[in-house]
C-alpha cells in the first residue's frame, strides 16, 4: 500500500488577477506606481503576527522580489519564512471587502483576517 505524500508547499508568493487589479486601483488613487507591492509581517495583532502591505517606489535591498500578474511583489526576507506559499487574494462581499492572505503557514487566524499565528 502506498501513502499519498502531501504536495510540497510552493516556495513563492502569488497574487490573483483580481487582487492585482485592486492593487492598481488603489495605487492610482494614491498617485503611485501600481506594480510594486511590498509584503511583510510585523509582530502583534490578535494572533501574534500581522500582515503588512505597502505600495512602494523602491524595494529594500534584501527584499526577495517575485513577479506575478504583471506586478512585482517585494517580500521582506525575515517575513518570508512566515509567508512562503501565500496567495494574496481579494474578497469583495456583503460582509466586507479587502485583501485576504491565503497562507499555508498560518495555524490560527484572527476574526478579521489581518493577523495569524504559526
Amino acid at each position: 500500500m502506498t501513502t499519498a505524500r502531501p504536495k510540497p508547499k510552493p516556495l513563492t508568493i502569488t497574487i490573483t488577477p483580481d487582487a492585482a487589479e485592486h492593487v492598481r486601483v488603489f495605487a492610482a488613487e494614491a498617485g503611485k506606481s501600481g506594480n510594486q507591492l511590498r509584503v511583510s509581517v510585523k509582530g502583534g495583532g490578535c494572533s501574534g503576527l500581522t500582515y503588512v502591505l505597502d505600495l512602494v517606489d523602491e524595494f529594500k535591498e534584501d527584499d526577495k522580489v517575485i513577479e506575478d500578474q504583471g506586478m512585482k511583489l517585494g517580500v521582506d526576507r525575515k517575513s518570508y519564512v512566515f509567508l512562503a506559499g501565500t496567495a494574496l487574494e481579494y474578497y469583495g462581499g456583503l460582509n466586507g471587502t479587502g485583501f485576504v492572505f491565503n497562507n499555508p503557514n498560518a495555524k490560527t487566524t484572527c476574526g478579521c483576517g489581518t493577523s495569524f499565528g504559526v
Binding site: S40, V41, K42, G43, G44, S47, G48, L49, S79
Partner: protein, 333 residues
C-alpha cells in the same frame, strides 16, 4: 562573612506599613529596549495602551499569549532614547525571547541589564519624605508611574515610583557595583530592611498578585483582577480577541480571592482547594500576617465559589484543612 542585619518580622512589617522599609528587589528582571519601533511593538504585544507614553512616564501592561494567558506583567518606562522594562523575578530572558520572536521587520533590540544593575526599593508611608531628603534640592520625588534620574551622593540612580506593594513604593536602580554602598546610604536614613516573609504577608493582605504565583500562563488577566491594565479600545494585541470575548460574554471561569485558615504551618502553594470532594480551586500563596489570626493566602477558585465566606477544604499533608474564602484586600483593622 556575617549575614546582613535583619530585624524581627513584626518590626519589618511595621516599617512597611507605618514608616519605611528597604527591600532588595534585584531579582526583578530589567531590560533595556532600543530601536524606533520598541514602544509600538510592545503596544502590539500587550494589553495596555502605551503609545502616548512620554519621557519619564511609565505604565504597567500584560504580555499575553494568543490564548490570552499571562506571559508576564511588565512595568514599561519611557526613557530618553530607550524603554526600561521591569519583568517578573528571573523572567527577563523569557520576556526578551518573547519580544525577539515577534521582532520581524521592526527595529528593536533588547539588552538584559539585570546582572549589571541592582534594584533597591523603599516602601511605606514615609518613603516619599525619606527619598526627598536624599535627592538634590531641585529634584522632585516622582509621582505614581513616573521616574527621575538623579545623583544620590555620588551614585547615579533612577528612581521609579512603581507602587509595587501599594502606595507609596519606589524602585531605585543603580549600577551593580554601587549596590552595597547605596544600600548603606538607604539604611542610614532609618529604613528597616524587610525580607520575604514580611513583604509576602503585606502583599497577600493587599491582594496583589505576583509573577510565578498568581501570574503566569495558567491564568488570564481578567481572572487575575488586572482589568485596569487592559485597554479595550486601543486595537489589536496578541490575545486581544480572547480577552475581549471573555469580558463581553462574561466567560471568566475563576477569580483571585483571599483565603484564611487556622493553624500555624504553612501549606505549600499549589495545594488544591476542594468542595464536596471535587476541585474548586488552587491555593497560590500562603503567608502569616502579624494582624490576622491563622494563615492567610491567595488563590484561584471557580466563580461559583468566590463569594466571601464560602467554606472549602485545602489539601495538606496533615489532611484536609477548612479554609474560608475572603474578600481582597484583607481587612486588617
Amino acid at each position: 562573612m556575617t549575614a546582613p542585619y535583619a530585624p524581627p518580622i513584626q518590626q519589618q512589617y511595621d516599617a512597611l506599613t507605618q514608616a519605611v522599609a528597604l527591600i532588595d528587589r534585584s531579582d526583578i528582571g530589567r531590560l533595556s529596549l532600543t530601536g524606533e519601533d520598541a514602544l509600538d511593538l510592545l503596544d502590539r504585544l500587550s494589553t495596555n495602551a502605551l503609545q502616548d507614553l512620554s519621557v519619564g512616564h511609565g505604565e504597567i501592561t500584560v504580555l499575553t499569549s494568543n490564548k490570552g494567558r499571562i506571559v508576564d506583567v511588565l512595568f514599561v518606562l519611557q526613557e530618553e532614547d530607550s524603554l526600561f522594562v521591569l519583568t517578573g523575578p528571573g523572567n527577563q530572558e523569557a520576556v526578551s525571547s518573547w519580544i525577539d520572536f515577534y521582532t520581524i521587520v521592526e527595529e528593536v533590540t533588547a539588552r538584559d541589564l539585570t546582572g549589571e544593575t541592582a534594584m533597591l526599593s523603599l516602601a511605606g508611608p514615609d518613603a516619599t519624605t525619606i527619598l526627598q531628603a536624599l535627592l538634590p534640592t531641585q529634584t522632585e520625588v516622582p509621582v505614581a508611574h513616573q521616574a527621575v534620574s538623579a545623583m544620590i551622593g555620588d551614585v547615579q540612580a533612577t528612581i521609579i515610583r512603581t507602587d509595587f506593594i501599594g502606595a507609596p513604593a519606589y524602585d531605585i536602580v543603580v549600577s551593580e557595583t554601587d549596590g552595597p554602598q547605596f544600600r548603606n546610604t538607604l539604611l542610614e536614613t532609618g529604613a528597616e530592611p524587610a525580607g520575604v516573609d514580611a513583604t509576602e504577608a503585606l502583599r497577600v493582605e493587599r491582594g496583589i498578585p505576583a509573577f510565578g504565583k498568581e501570574l503566569g500562563e495558567s491564568y488570564n488577566p481578567l481572572e487575575a483582577g488586572l482589568m485596569p491594565l487592559i485597554s479595550f479600545t486601543k486595537g489589536c494585541y496578541i490575545g486581544q480577541e480572547v480577552v475581549a470575548r471573555l469580558n463581553t460574554y462574561d466567560k471568566v471561569q475563576k477569580s483571585l480571592v483571599g483565603l484564611q485558615w487556622d493553624g500555624e504551618s504553612a501549606i505549600e502553594s499549589g495545594a488544591r482547594l476542594l468542595l464536596d470532594g471535587k476541585q474548586a480551586g488552587i491555593m497560590t500563596t500562603a503567608a502569616t500576617s502579624p494582624h490576622i489570626a491563622g494563615v492567610i493566602g491567595l488563590g484561584y477558585v471557580k466563580k461559583a465559589h468566590a463569594t466571601p465566606g464560602t467554606e472549602l477544604l485545602l489539601e495538606s499533608p496533615d489532611g484536609p484543612t477548612p479554609v474560608r474564602v475572603t474578600a481582597l484586600p484583607f481587612d486588617t483593622e
